[in-house]
Amino acid sequence: MTNYHLDHLDLLETEAIHIMREVAGEFERPVLLFSGGKDSICLLRLAEKAFRPSDIPMPFLNVETGHEFPELIEFRDRRAKQLGAKLIVRTVDQALASGAATQAPGEVSRNKLQIPVLLGAIEEFRFDCAIGGARRDEEKARAKERFFSFRDSFGQWDPKNQRPEIWNLYNGRLNAGENMRVFPLSNWTEMDVWEYIKREKLEVPSIYFSHTRECFRRGGQWLPVPPAHTDATKPDPYAGARPKPTEQRKTMVCRVRTIADMISTGMVESPASSFDDIIAEVAAARVTERGSRADDKASEAAMEDRKKAGYF
């Protein structure tokens, strides 16, 4: 007795697998952006579902700001190894040292500096397509994003002139130097991501669960206190991101809802210690996921501006 019915996770999954396979079919040198965060964890499972028993036919790429949570890096490396994938890491530090990226005076966040590093890696490896875990429900500039998002030879997004995307027919044609960003999770919500992680029994970095951590108050958020600066021969990588004497400090029971790096991730007070707890918390949440991202608070168009410049 078969019931030809698919639930919402099945529908989102089959749509995403279809997109993964279109990438493998249409591009010569695709890459998958894997940060170790919850969205890209789903991407890896979808890649397994799309391509096993073969190898996943693309390497993984991560751009490090140098301010990562150590738990995330450990998880990222371990997971890539488990899957037998090649992991390419490029860092903002390298780009600063080589002059490929320059920090704006007074700016602490390295979020924008990821753009030249990502574009540099795309050029270095001649990637023609990068799969990312961005979702349309995250942010309103992303709500306008296509599954197959065309970038010109400068890596720029032109939101006013996007290719119409009709039925499930994706136009992957490029000229030399151009590339595509592809977002298989476009139609997923934060809730879908957690329900899928739970259903698939996927491991996530420990910082998504409740733990005790020292934080400080800045810009309406609780930011984690960065690790101590021990190597006095080098400048402090967290200069500007350390609590000032006037800023309130607190040891909290908290977790991350979304992960950027340590200086732009607000910690949320939470006792959630299981997937069910997290799902219940997301269901009851009264602020959006990106409400805890300092990088998006810069202005109403912060995301749009970064995307136009080549951000993922």
Partner: protein, 449 residues
């Protein structure tokens, strides 16, 4: 070989109730209350978050003289907020305990047809907004006609701003009658009329106390309950091959002979042991295994993504199609289709383009523009000057290699295509194929197309 039956894998799911996804689109111009309606749906179903409401208030203080503008929720780009317009399709998500919803929100001006076609192509349902004061206007007809051309199964006519006509039942009936005059010419199976006020929230999420004469559901109640399970085509098995799954240098000896054909089922049902045909080539073989990463299955159906292993070693690659032997498709290089032209440069006969159909890309030449369709009246008009941006017309095409296809009315996935211009590779048209004049014939063992 491990076998996991579909039914058992469904029942082993977590205890959350099975919810499905309804995709709908709204299309309208600046003043008809579309953004207000979406804002109302999100707000009253408690799908807006505090920081989104705060952001609305913040932009109201800066630019809106203190008045909250719900359109700022959907207009995500700076140019849109500056000019007070919507540029492109925006997608919104919300959920109730009964269903998840994906809204494709499209602007109603300039690029109307192109955006509407894009937003509606994946929709189960389309909402046409009518201003109760204005009644049925040209745009209402265009919208309904496009929904019909794209074969969206369900239509809701939301008669908005009822508060401005004193909640008049007579006015509601009058507009309904105007609509019903031209509905018989269209291909829409299910139409619902709902009187509402998006601004005040009447009959959007909460029933209105002003419409005792209306016995139907609120808009949200209708969206939650409209029957969409049969919207996928379950007759005529079609698997457009996306990718050949062939492990390189497997360490596991059992994988040496693994050769699977991966794709998303675009129609019908497939079972282990079933006879199938591969096209082009027309060779017949049997399904040996239906592989998924979650274990093998005994059967699979549209729109699942699977990998088929076949009994015989047949040359099949991306762009080929594996089909069942019943409800056969057509295969031809000579095609007739309705197209929506989406590029500023006029389409004229002789134009060479790329055509992408399922997973298959071929070169195509437009041999004839038969006529243009007047989207307001659905009447055919001559098109001596070709098809201009946003025109819908009837064309003939010749392709470099045969397409294996169904009529769009039978199968949206194997009956649709896009056209891509060869220079900058812009997507310039959406096409809907006519039913094939003849189907492939399985009895010809040496059938070659």
């Amino acid at each position: 070989m491990s076998v996991v039956a579909t039914s058992s894998s469904l029942s082993s799911r977590p205890v959350v109730p099975v919810v499905d996804i309804l995709r709908f689109n709204t299309c309208g111009s600046v003043d008809d209350g579309k953004s207000t309606l979406i804002g109302r749906l999100l707000y009253d179903s408690k799908s807006l978050m505090e920081d989104q409401i705060e952001a609305l208030e913040r932009s109201a203080d800066i630019t809106g003289g203190g008045q909250i503008n719900l359109a700022n929720l959907t207009d995500g780009l700076r140019a849109e907020r500056e000019q007070g317009i919507t540029i492109d399709v925006a997608y919104r998500y919300f959920a109730t305990p009964k269903r998840k919803f994906i809204i494709a929100d499209t602007p109603g001006h300039v690029q109307y047809t192109r955006n509407m076609v894009t937003g509606a192509s994946t929709a189960n349902l389309s909402i046409v907004l009518v201003d109760a004061r204005a009644g049925v206007i040209e745009q209402s007809r265009r919208h309904t006609a496009i929904a019909s051309l794209l074969r969206i199964p369900h239509l809701v006519v939301a008669i908005n701003k009822m508060d401005l006509v004193d909640w008049s039942e007579a006015r509601f009936n009058e507009i309904r009658a105007q609509f019903e005059e031209f509905l018989p010419r269209l291909d829409i199976k299910d139409v619902k009329f709902i009187p509402l006020s998006a601004l005040n929230g009447d009959n959007v999420v909460e029933p209105s106390k002003h419409t005792p004469w209306y016995a139907g559901p609120t808009l949200l109640a209708h969206l939650e309950t409209v029957h969409i399970a049969s919207d996928h085509n379950l007759s005529g098995f079609r698997l457009p091959v996306q990718w050949v799954n062939r492990p390189n240098n497997p360490t596991d000896a059992r994988l040496h002979d693994f050769r699977g054909f991966s794709g998303q089922i675009a129609g019908g049902i497939v079972k282990v042991g079933q006879k199938v045909m591969t096209l082009p080539g027309g060779l017949t073989t049997t399904v040996k295994r239906i592989h998924t990463h979650d274990g093998d299955r005994e059967e699979a159906f549209c729109p699942q993504s699977v990998t088929l292993l076949l009994e015989h070693d047949i040359d099949v690659s991306r762009g080929n199609m594996i089909i069942g032997l019943e409800d056969l498709p057509g295969a031809s290089t000579d095609l007739q289709a309705k197209v929506c032209w989406m590029h500023p440069r006029v389409l004229q006969p002789g134009k060479k383009l790329w055509l992408k159909h399922t997973t298959h890309s071929v070169q195509a030449v437009v041999t004839e523009i038969t006529h243009r369709i007047n989207v307001t009246t659905l009447e055919q008009e001559p098109a001596p000057a070709g098809l201009a941006l946003n025109d819908i017309g009837e064309i003939r095409l010749r392709t470099s290699r045969p397409l294996v296809f169904d009529g769009y009315a039978t199968n949206r996935l194997t009956g649709s295509f896009i056209l891509i211009e060869p220079g900058a590779h812009a997507t310039v048209a959406a096409g809907m194929l006519h039913a094939p004049r003849e189907v492939v014939r399985p009895e010809d063992g040496d059938f070659v197309i």
